[in-house]
């Protein structure tokens, strides 16, 4: 009896983990605030992971010098260097329908609160005054038979790719959709010649 219960618990633990993963994402999508972030596709196809768009959110590369122009150059570099490897809170502001960084601070000093739209991430690299933040928003999986927007558009300046991210009040974000020239991916794909 005990053995049966142990097997049952082990199997339930796996199912519960998957269930939690799904429920957490569904909750985030249902309750998170939608923001649009411009992206740069960098590596459109990976043979191991199937067809996904490897993306780099433009707002993930933050120039501290632009956010803190009042500081001297070496102080800006020092500020950027102090964030290396840190978990950070990046407060966002909307500009022309796209969201971009307004400020960046180490998350260890508390978060900006529910009134602000902000993203939680970890600083990957620091170069001079530019910090590269990992928000966990770096893949959009393309359905097997759908058109691939990346090879067609990513080198052309007259087209724009963006993602719709859902952001929770704790700064966690998930990709809800891909926008191709402002169109949701499903709509854009339906309009493509078969």
């Amino acid at each position: 009896m005990k053995r049966r219960l142990a097997f049952l618990l082990a199997a339930l633990a796996q199912l519960a983990f998957l269930g939690w993963l799904v429920a957490d994402q569904e909750r985030l999508r249902a309750t998170g605030r939608a923001i649009v972030l411009s992206i740069e596709p960098v590596d459109p196809v990976d043979p191991l992971s199937g067809r996904y768009l490897a993306i780099r959110v433009k707002a993930a590369r933050i120039d501290v010098a632009k956010l803190l122009p009042e500081l001297a150059a070496d102080a800006q570099s020092r500020t950027a260097a102090s964030l290396a490897g840190e978990e950070v809170a990046v407060v966002m502001r909307e500009k022309d329908g796209r969201w971009e960084p307004e400020s960046i601070e180490s998350a260890r000093y508390g978060d900006p609160g529910a009134s602000a739209v902000w993203l939680r991430g970890r600083v990957r690299t620091v170069s001079e005054t530019v910090v590269d933040v990992d928000f966990g928003l770096d893949r959009y999986f393309i359905p097997a038979h759908a058109a691939d927007p990346s090879p067609l558009l990513w080198r052309r300046a007259d087209h724009e790719l963006a993602i719709v991210a859902r952001v929770s009040v704790e700064g966690r974000a998930t990709i809800a959709d891909l926008l191709v020239d402002g169109q949701p991916f499903a709509e854009w794909n339906a309009a493509q010649p078969k």
Partner: protein, 414 residues
């Protein structure tokens, strides 16, 4: 010892009068029965076929979901994933455990479920466009599969979480070290490989400690494969650390007065921190093993292996700290000592697997040194010919020695 040799030995004993005349044949047959039990070929074949079938079912279902990605709604995808996982676990349990009428097939289906769990995590991640900086999916994959290996006490099922654990550890260390080094100095690669070498030594110690915990207990069956993998991991670590050109310039050949500079110490700490964590865990596990007094004697080889792996890591790290250019020499020396120790223990204690592992490690090290030092000096043709001749000579010499070592090891078995 082979069956024919055993029967021959019994005949000799009979002719010496130690066994009553006419009883030799019966004694020989009984000893053969005890020492060489017939293999259940049907069960083995059933297990292999079952495993292949289980893997095909799991892969097929994942492919079905992938191929019908657009037609299947989110709910259908998730129902298929959850339903298949639960169904495979249930069928595996019924066949292997209760009532357990097809244990080999049941084990295969449980294995398929364990593998499918990873695929299921990947598919859910794909549905929600999830990605993770650290390899958390593999962490959860091996962690939640461990209970099935423990509950079934199956060596074959243990392979799945064990292999995933080794992969996860390397991936985690890779991301952590890369994060630390890139974020500060844009250094990578060589120092990462150096960290891998140390971590593999720590992994060797951890697996040896786990083998010691399993020894003479409920999970005795896991002890041998864990210990073997531990020795292999430790030798792999020494093999990696034995390359001269490993590590950044700052670590291996610092400028005058920079030996104990803050930057060098910081980088050294980044390289050594992962092995410190793994070796620390190994020590805790070894203490747990030692707490079981009655089993101490049975686990002495595993504890010796673990201590040797940690000792080698400390020796190479200490050399890297104070005589940076000599770290690779320390690793080569430790490798040679390990090979000799394994051969001696193998021949004296009757452990042929130790001898074979030592021979393979020695061959790999000699070939690596050949390519490292000789290959640069000559053209490609001579390198190939030289490597070939070296391998033939080494193979011939080692085969002769290995046979006698293995024979001694087998003969000296208690």
């Amino acid at each position: 010892m082979k069956r024919d040799e055993l029967l021959e030995a019994v005949k000799r004993v009979e002719s010496e009068g130690l066994v009553p005349a006419g009883q030799g044949e019966k004694v020989g047959a009984r000893l053969v029965e005890i020492l060489f039990p017939p293999r259940d070929a049907t069960r083995t074949a059933a297990a292999v076929v079952g495993w292949l079938g289980g893997i095909l079912v799991a892969a097929g279902l994942l492919l079905f979901i992938a191929a019908h990605w657009e037609e299947l709604g989110k709910v259908a995808k998730l129902t298929l994933i959850f339903g298949t996982l639960a169904g495979l676990h249930y069928a595996g349990y019924r066949l292997a455990e209760s009532p357990g009428r097809r244990p080999a097939l049941g084990e295969a289906l449980t294995a398929a479920a364990m593998l499918l769990f990873g695929g299921a995590i990947g598919l859910v991640a794909q549905i929600y466009n999830l990605s993770s900086h650290y390899p958390k999916a593999i962490l959860v994959w091996w962690l939640l599969n461990v209970p099935f290996a423990l509950l079934s006490r199956s060596r074959r099922l243990l392979v799945i979480p064990l292999a995933l654990f080794v992969v996860w550890l390397h991936m985690h260390v890779d991301v952590w070290v890369e994060d630390q080094l890139r974020a500060r100095h844009f250094l990578w690669s060589e120092s990462e490989v150096l960290a891998f070498g140390f971590v593999e030594l720590g992994l060797g110690a951890l697996l040896a400690a786990l083998a010691a915990v399993c020894r003479a207990g409920r999970y005795e069956t896991f002890s041998a494969p864990l210990a073997l993998l531990g020795r292999f991991a430790a030798l792999a670590g020494l093999f990696t650390l034995a390359f001269k050109e490993l590590g950044s310039t700052r670590l291996v050949s610092p400028e005058q007065g920079q030996l104990f500079s803050t930057e060098r110490m910081g980088e050294l700490w980044i390289v050594l921190a992962p092995v410190a964590c793994v070796a620390g865990t190994a020590l805790v596990v070894a203490l747990l093993a030692l707490a079981r007094r009655p089993a101490r004697g049975a686990m002495r080889h595993e504890l010796a292996d673990g201590a040797a792996a940690i000792g080698a890591a400390v020796a190479v790290a200490a050399t890297l700290l104070v005589v940076p250019g000599g770290a690779f020499l320390a690793a080569n020396g430790a490798m040679l000592a390990a090979v000799l120790a394994l051969v001696m223990r193998g021949t004296h204690r009757g452990r042929p697997a130790d001898v074979n592992l030592a021979v393979v490690a020695f061959l790999a090290t000699v070939m690596a040194r050949y390519f490292e030092y000789v290959a640069d000096e000559f053209g490609a043709v001579f390198v190939f010919i030289g490597a070939g001749v070296l391998l033939i000579a080494l193979g011939g010499a080692l085969e002769r020695k290995r046979r006698s070592w293995v024979a001694r090891a087998a003969g000296s078995k208690p």
